[in-house]
Symmetry: C2
Subunit: 680 residues, 2 copies
Amino acid sequence: MSSTPSRVHPAWLPPEALAPLTSGTAAVVGDGPCLDTARRELAGARPAPAREADVVVATGDACADDLGLAELPAPPPRGAVTVRTGGRLVVVGHDGAAALRGLYAAARTAARARLAGRSTPDGVSIDAPEQPRRMLDHWDNMEVHPVMGQVERGYAGGSLFFEAGRVRDDLARVHEYARLLASIGIDAVAVNNVNVHEREAHLLTDDLADVARLADVFRAYGMVTYLSVSFGSPRLLGHLATNDPLDEDVRAWWRQATDRVYATIPDFGGYVVKADSEGQPGPFAYGRTHADGANLLAEALRPHGGTVVWRAFVYDHRQDWRDRSTDRARAAHDHFAPLDGRFAENVVLQVKHGPMDFQVREPVSPVIAAMPRTRVAVELQVTQEYTGQQRHVAYLAPAWREYLGFRLDGEHTVAQLAAGETSPDRPQPAGGLAAVSNVGTDAFWTGHPLAQANLYAFGRLAWDSSLTAEEILDEWVALTFAGADDAALTRIAAALHAMMDDSLARYEAYTAPLGIGFMVTPGVHYGPSVEGYEYSPWGTYHFADRDGIGVDRTVATGTGYTGQYPSPWRETYESLETCPDELLLFFHHVPYTHVLHSGSTVVQHVYDSRADAVEQLDDVEGAWASLADLVGTAVPEAYDARVRERLAEQRRSAVEWRDQLRTYFHRASGIPDATGRAIY
Amino acid sequence: MSSTPSRVHPAWLPPEALAPLTSGTAAVVGDGPCLDTARRELAGARPAPAREADVVVATGDACADDLGLAELPAPPPRGAVTVRTGGRLVVVGHDGAAALRGLYAAARTAARARLAGRSTPDGVSIDAPEQPRRMLDHWDNMEVHPVMGQVERGYAGGSLFFEAGRVRDDLARVHEYARLLASIGIDAVAVNNVNVHEREAHLLTDDLADVARLADVFRAYGMVTYLSVSFGSPRLLGHLATNDPLDEDVRAWWRQATDRVYATIPDFGGYVVKADSEGQPGPFAYGRTHADGANLLAEALRPHGGTVVWRAFVYDHRQDWRDRSTDRARAAHDHFAPLDGRFAENVVLQVKHGPMDFQVREPVSPVIAAMPRTRVAVELQVTQEYTGQQRHVAYLAPAWREYLGFRLDGEHTVAQLAAGETSPDRPQPAGGLAAVSNVGTDAFWTGHPLAQANLYAFGRLAWDSSLTAEEILDEWVALTFAGADDAALTRIAAALHAMMDDSLARYEAYTAPLGIGFMVTPGVHYGPSVEGYEYSPWGTYHFADRDGIGVDRTVATGTGYTGQYPSPWRETYESLETCPDELLLFFHHVPYTHVLHSGSTVVQHVYDSRADAVEQLDDVEGAWASLADLVGTAVPEAYDARVRERLAEQRRSAVEWRDQLRTYFHRASGIPDATGRAIY
């Protein structure tokens, strides 16, 4: 049982985090929902004329002179100019949303400087997001799904948006949430699950007034609202005979439905669609392509400036395990790469970062570089479906940063490809970054309080992928524990770095080895089950036998998946000599005695890394325990209780992973652990 | 989706089955609920004076002369005397219930004779049940359990008794069901799940009036009603501080609660209790024994003539798979054998037929012979939890007959031990036979229409364990298809024998091999998952590795379970030379190359028997297809549709079992199939 305090934890925006901005006088110049929000944030400061106030928030149409500045560079699109001079702070955003984000950024800068023990120097900074689109997807159901619960793959309580089959009456918590998102630069939110069940399908029509209430909240924080819609809506909601994207009645139905949406929500973002995937309807049923499908919705949205976010997560989830030639990893590229150039301009193709499904270790999806004339968004998963479900500490930023910095076409990073318009050969505009949120009604938002850092980091990396995971953690710690005194803050930061910097690597080390993935309990995806998916229809196999393990995805002898990569990666992955250890079993089937670049054999690596990783949990627990004297002051008691509860479960689960995998591989290989550690 | 006809199928009591009894004149002598039922059954016959009627039903206090007979032997306890003379049928029961059962028996005799193509000869027969107690347990929940549904391990729709959290208003279907049970000699029914959830606990108190309505129905068919009760009732319902069986307040609470039950239902049967098992409360929490626990309830029931049915299914369901010394198979004997002689006279200890949990192949539980001073009942499972869940044809009678005929102490059969009082050394009176029912609101009662035969066979074997499975199937066919003409009936019988006689052996041959058990998908217990339970806390392991498989339960080198058996079985099972093939892996861990008595190796046996068994399904399907011309006449269309739907699923599932197990053992052993058949 989780210990749940009665108050909601303020995450990284406690009152103290904004204190540096509210201690003097303030002015907000202009009107509009975001500037009104900025005004509320500064309500603790005495009002003053803009020329003289300590803190000024304005938009790009303000004059330098009016703001008491000598000169004022033009704020960049989506960004802001921040001027610090003589103790004054002036934030001028390209628009209200950018100005509000700039205000939060100023709090962040102050917090980081404080942790570093320095003051913020005077000067002018110009800041704009690397990714023009920074979206959070929510897999929230309106009704509690009999298998998936209220929030699909959610580990933090119920939905912030929905309760008992409808949008909540009280949206105070959504306001708090929107504030957190604005502070990390998110600009779009999809409020419902991409698996659109019948009830949720009606959000598009019957429940528009309630969706508008959610959009009102997000608008005040600079975000537009998206809906996940069912491709089957024309039949389901419109009672048409077909959903065929080329059918005139279907096109008319979508146009009219979309017109009604915009009549209610003029700045509506658009639609998110999971089609022909895991049972969702799609264009395949009518012999149409996914371009036909996406363009149908794009046509309806275009007059209003809306966007279709079309997911590339399409594969055969009814695969026969006996079929060794079909390779799920190939599916997205096989389906979508041939369609490059055929999507309308307001279609964004959203591609999971890896070819499978958010495993702890996957290669980068080759689709991201395969469609230069398509707006490609990269999808990450903040919710820890396969990374410990917010019971294990797993700070995801190091992996995300690695993906985003990966030069997939040999030249551009994934972040650059998502941000678009990288070269004349790659003329597509931004797809941007999207992620599946990890929040819920839990008092700590995210179940594990430390999992807040993952949501924080996603926003920050979408803004600037050059930030290091350690820098982001510093920011998050300094903001979250802004109420701690300097000495305490320093100690907390040190402890959390010790716990979190290597946490994902540690999780990887005690779970599925060397890029093989899965090995989780089917359905729930938590805890080990080495053979759990081995004879399933899901296309997630490891082919372990008494001799070896791994999936041969080479062109030479395997499924040919490596051939989907541009050079140099196709050659790198194709060859046993150059394939990195951590992805070895993703690309190759090898004997247990195969010697890794590390010098260890595959099976000894399995034995060692699982045992070593569990031993490291002593240090993780010790780091947290070292803060015991701060509990009740800098660290709330409920926070401490929750963290300790999760650490205990992490250890239990990690021991289970270690022991099951060591035993499984020993039974399979017959090879003893060279270190002599116990195998059960 | 199942095809569901709108009408309820009459199972083995269609109007035609009773036609031989209702074509002439009839008399029922005496009054009482069961005789009234007999009167209703004979309502189609013209009434006549008892001396002259073609069919007469009476009880033992009737005089021969009054019935028009020269002489009349005394009916035995629970039994009846049946006199056939000159076309007249006179049934005289020891009491009304026995008389009613005798009437149904006459219909059965007539049906069997018809199928055999002979007439029933004149004469006197005296018939009494071998088992004085013949009980059906229902694992029905009042509310739909979030995991287990309305009927735990039920595969035939909802509960006949409960709907939406209460006893049904309309009990017409319960009447039909009680009639079916009376016709096979059942005399006791427990109406609710042995896993007593909070709602169901209240049946004992708040819902007594509704339980009484159920008891009224069963009484009219010669059955008493039991409730499954929670050992935690004093705290849960009585708000006492403890459930300690030696606490005075607890004893008083049970006495008073029981007095109230009998005030409402004077012939109430008693309580069924699952204590200290799989999370249910029990006496262990208070440092008391199960004898203390059972005797607590026995004390409350004794003044009213009630019985405690105390289940011996007690084991550690939180076992650590790393612990190779704990053996779940030992648990019931370890817990209960030392308590022999300490249970009150009105306690029946109900023991599952095997030491594990209703696997397709288990040895007989040694507990059944280990407690000569205890009333031991043997529990069978009619619902096919581990035998295909009423989607596979699996006629269970051959296995039950084998268990019941097994001479567990070297002298007495299991049936004799359950029937009690076998010798001065074994003074205990009857425990009897119990089984978990397989019925529900399904229009065919049991999901698979052919699974009706299992319910039928349980009742018949509890009555007479010397009946062969084939004889019972003949009876069931002749009654069920009583409306068919002679030629059709003969063909149907032949087809169903071809489908059903070896169906359980066939199911065994394509599922877990050689007595190893489990290998099912965790939770649902349907379909293969070779390693599904291998690292679980349930104590159900096979220890397969690259060299071999099986559980060493010997005294010499294993868990010592074989030592729980009397001679000669302890020696038989202990030795690899004498252990029967079909139980080899239950008792021994052997290499895949171990040569069976059959001459095959273990691994080749796995390969062959799975492939052969699936091939046999051609004949099963062919047998049913051979009846196609009878569909719409002797075989209802909906019946045919349901059977064909289930046969298709059986094939799909059997192929999956075959292929997964063949692949698993090939991967583990590296040994090719000597026949060269494909391994995936």
